[in-house]
Symmetry: C2
DNA sequence: CTCAATGCAAAAGGTTTGCACGCTT
DNA sequence: AAGCGTGCAAACCTTTTGCATTGAG
């Protein structure tokens, strides 16, 4: 973990890409996109940068039922969930205040502390269904 | 995929173990438990049997944020969610009809089809918090 | 006797780490 | 000049697969 965050070309490339693409993508996918646009960034660096961004809460990450980690630049700063297309990875950010409250309440009822939760909705978007 | 399911000693061991243990456990953990009790079942078989059981809807599986797959024998037959202790893996099964409906509704609003969702609550249970 | 099931070893992902070199500050 | 960041290769982990052997029916 770096104490200082330097502005390197590679990090710029990753950030620039994240600003352009929409929806969730795996680290591998993002790396491939970078390679495709001749950005010369190593896979290792992509992973490290993404992890850095997740820690800094600048991007969001979830996991597919398959286990791969997905990353996405988040436009909302508040906690929220995602409706993700299985096919193309496009996402809709949804807020579900009721769900949050319910989760915390259920956990509290059972004496659980340090509560967190994951909630993702998967489906096939209208585009991809055609 | 087998057309016929034969009753082998190994499958019996796995099932017996699942009946005894509580909460979610990874395939590796279950395998270690089997080894510990000298049940002589290969890791491969554990994976294959668990997958079989998941397909047959006899057990439930989720994934940790870390990506490992967890398995658990389910007492409820209906769709439900889990409150999982991060420390000891003990779980509480919770039904959240409202959540289900909300998920389907949100998805439909955005034109998504073949909708599924994942919802897990993580925390530290009262036991482990002490 | 047949064919599904097993188990080993190897493959196959995806992600992380060790280490020497290079670039930001 | 100092030390963080990079990138390659190798290590790691979990899960899957190939294949010869075992055993249920």
């Amino acid at each position: 973990m770096p104490n200082v965050t330097r502005n390197t070309r590679q990090r710029g490339e990753v950030l620039a890409l994240l600003r352009e693409v929409d929806g969730f993508h795996t680290a591998q996918q993002l790396h491939q996109m970078l390679v495709a646009r001749k950005a010369r960034v190593g896979l290792t660096t992509v992973y490290r940068t993404l992890q850095l961004l997740v820690d800094a809460q600048e991007i969001d990450s979830t996991r597919l039922p398959g286990g791969e980690q997905l990353f996405r630049r988040c436009s909302q700063s508040r906690h929220h969930h995602h409706l993700v297309c299985r096919r193309c990875g496009s996402t809709v950010e949804v807020a579900g205040p009721a769900v949050e409250r319910w989760a915390d309440q259920v956990a509290a009822q059972h004496g659980f502390t340090e509560v967190g939760h994951t909630f993702e909705i998967f489906g096939t978007c209208a585009q991809c269904a055609r």
